[in-house]
Amino acid sequence: MDLSQWIAPFEKVTGDYYAYAREAAERGRKVAGYMCSYAPQELLYAAGYLPVRILGRIGETNRADELLQAFSCSFARSVLDSALEGEWPFLSLVMFSHTCDTMQNVADLWRAHTPGTEVMIVSVPSRTDSEAAVRYYTAELERIRKALEKQCGPIPDEKINEALSLYREHREAMRELYGLHAANPGRLTGAQMMHVNLAAFLMDRAEHLEGVRNLIAAFNAAGAQEPDGRPRVFVAGSMCRHTAFIEFMEAAGCRVVGDDLCVGSRSYAFADADGDTPLEAIARAYLARTPCPAFHHSTRQPGDALVEAVRRDKAQGVIFLLTSFCDPAAFDHVPMTQALEKAGIPALTLSVEQHREPPEQLRTRVAAFVEMLQGSATP
C-alpha cells in the first residue's frame, strides 16, 4: 500500500517554505520565528503565535557573507541570509537561544539589519542537570512570558497547560511514527519522513498532529512491510534542511531507518515533566532531554544515547551529517564515534554545507559505505 497521499499534505507545506506561515499571518495570526529546539514553543503557542522554525534557505548565501566570516557554519549564514533577503516580512518576533557564539551574533545582526522585528534571546543554561539550571531556566521563561505578554496580552496558565498537552501528544505520535518507520523501512522513504519532520516546524501543531495520526492509521492499515535486505542506516547530526541529503543516501542503496537529528527524532525524544508552575514544567522537560551538542550533562556522555538509539532501530551503520564549522557538534563527534566503535557499529562522517546539493564525492563515499555494510552482512 502506497502512503504517498498521506505524505502529500506535509510535502505541500515543505514545498514552499514560507507559504504556510505567510497565509496564517494574512489571516491575522501572529507568527513567531525560532531557531533552536530549546526555544519554548509551548509558550509561544499558548500566547497565540504560530511558532515557525527558521532553518535558512536552500542555495547559495550572498548577503550574509558580507557580515559573517567564512568560518561561520552554513546554518548561521543561511539563516541570516534569509532575513537579509527579506524572506520573513510577516514575523512578529524572532526567538534565538544561546546555543553558540555564532548564533548569538546572528541574533544581533538580525536585530541590526531587520528593523521592526522584535528579537528575543533565551538563555538556556549550558549545564542542564542541576536544580540551579531548572531555577535559572524557569526564571528565564518567566522573563520571556512577560515580554510576550507586552505584545499579546496576558497568557493564562490554562493556555500553557493546553499547549503542553498538545505538544506532548504530538511528541508521542511522532515517536510512534518513528517506531513504525523503523519496523517497516521502505513503506516510507527516509526523505518522506524528513518532509513530515520539517513540516512539523512550519505547521500549527494541532494540524500537524492530525496529519500524523492519519498517517499512522494508514501505516497500521497497510500491515507489515517485507524487508528488502538493504542495509539499515541511522543518520546522526543536528540539521538537515535539505531532504536531498537523505535522498542521496537512499539512492546509494540503503534504508534510512532512524535519526537523532535536531530537526528529527531528537525533538520528540523526551517526556513531559511535572513542575509547580507550567513554566517550571517546560523547564524540567527541556532540561531532562539528552542534551544537544550546545549543552552538557555531567554524567551522560555524548554517544551513549546514540548507541542506544542505533541499537533500538537495528541500524547496521551510522552516517554523520556534520555541519562544517559547527564547533559544538565537532566536539561531541569525537566521543560519539568512539562510542560507536566500541559498540562495533561502523560510521561514516560527511562534512557538509547544509544548504547545498550534496557534491558527487559524497555520493561515492556513501555508496562505498553501503557496499561496506553489505559486505559485512554477507561475509
Binding site: 564525492q361 561515492t364 555508496a367 561496506m372 561475509p379
Partner: protein
C-alpha cells in the same frame, strides 16, 4: 580457452579511463588506459574496446561488465556500478593477498582503505575536494618544471636533499616551487620535495583511517617511485606496488563482474 567466460571492468577516473578483461580464472587478458576527456561514456566504450582488442576478443564478448570510478554511472555497457573503494580493495587483495590496507592516489582523489583479514573493507578515508595529495598536484608541478610525468619518478630518486614544501594547497605550492627555482635549488631536490609533500598529505588520510601494513599502493601516482619511497618512510614499512597500479580498480571491477556472474 574456447567457451571460457570473459569479464571486464572499466574504471572511469577524472584523468584516465582504465579497462581490464579477464578470464574465469581471473587472469588479465588485455588492458588499456586512455585519457577520460570530456565525454565519459565515450571514453569508457573506447577504453573497453581497446582492451578487448588487446585481449584478442570481441568487444561484446563479456558475460558481465562492472563499472567503477567517478564516471561509473555514465558507462553504457555496465551491468552495474560499484564504487572505486570496493573495486580497489578487491583488485588489490587479489594481487597481493597479504594486504591489510590500500593507499590509492588517483588523478583527482586519494583514498586510504583498511581491510580486514578476509579482505573486506573495514574503514576508508577520502581526500576533500582539493587537488592537494593527488596526481593532479604532480601534473601541475611537472608542467611547471617542464619535466615529463614519467621522468618525475627518476628525478625524485636522484634528489639527495629534498627541499621543504610546506603548502598543502596546490596553487600555493606552485609559488613555493618558483621561489626554490629562484634560489637556484637543484630541480631533483625540488621534485623529491614535491613527492614527499604528496606522501605526507596522503599520510594524513592513512593515519585517520588507522591503516596498518602490509600495504599496497594503487593508482597512477604509485608509478612514481619518489612518492612510494616517501610513503614507505612515513609508514615505516615497505609498500607493495603492483606491475600496473593504474588498472587495479578496473581489475577489481572485472573480478566483481566474475563474482556477480557466478552468483547469479
Amino acid at each position: 580457452m574456447s567457451g571460457d567466460r570473459l569479464y571486464a571492468g572499466v574504471d572511469v577516473g577524472s584523468a584516465t579511463a582504465k579497462a581490464v578483461w579477464i578470464n574465469s580464472a581471473g587472469e588479465t587478458l588485455g588492458s588499456s588506459v586512455i585519457p577520460s576527456g570530456g565525454n565519459l561514456a565515450d571514453a569508457a566504450t573506447r577504453c573497453l574496446r581497446l582492451a578487448a582488442e588487446r585481449a584478442g576478443c570481441a568487444p561484446d564478448a563479456a558475460a558481465c561488465i562492472v563499472a567503477t570510478g567517478y564516471g561509473r554511472e555514465r558507462v553504457p555497457e555496465r551491468s552495474r556500478a560499484v564504487t572505486e573503494i570496493t573495486c580497489h580493495a578487491r583488485g588489490a587483495r587479489a594481487l597481493f593477498s597479504e594486504a591489510r590496507c590500500v593507499i590509492d592516489i588517483g588523478g583527482q582523489d586519494s583514498k586510504a582503505i583498511a581491510l580486514d583479514d578476509q579482505g573486506r573493507v573495514l574503514r576508508f578515508e577520502m581526500n576533500d575536494k582539493c587537488a592537494a595529495g593527488t596526481g593532479r598536484f604532480l601534473e601541475v608541478m611537472a608542467h611547471l618544471l617542464e619535466i615529463d610525468l614519467d621522468d618525475l619518478s627518476r628525478r625524485a630518486l636522484a634528489g639527495t636533499s629534498p627541499v621543504a614544501i610546506s603548502s598543502t594547497c596546490t596553487v600555493f605550492a606552485e609559488s613555493e616551487v618558483i621561489s626554490h627555482l629562484a634560489q637556484n635549488q637543484p630541480v631533483d631536490d625540488i621534485v623529491a620535495g614535491l613527492c614527499r609533500s604528496i606522501a605526507s598529505r596522503v599520510y594524513g588520510l592513512v593515519s585517520r583511517a588507522r591503516l596498518t601494513p602490509p600495504a599496497i599502493m594503487t593508482g597512477g601516482v604509485a608509478r612514481n617511485q619518489g612518492v612510494v619511497k616517501a610513503m614507505e618512510a612515513l609508514l615505516g614499512s615497505p609498500i607493495h606496488v603492483p606491475e600496473s597500479p593504474q588498472t587495479v580498480g578496473a581489475y577489481g571491477a572485472a573480478l566483481i563482474a566474475r563474482d556477480d556472474n557466478a552468483s547469479s
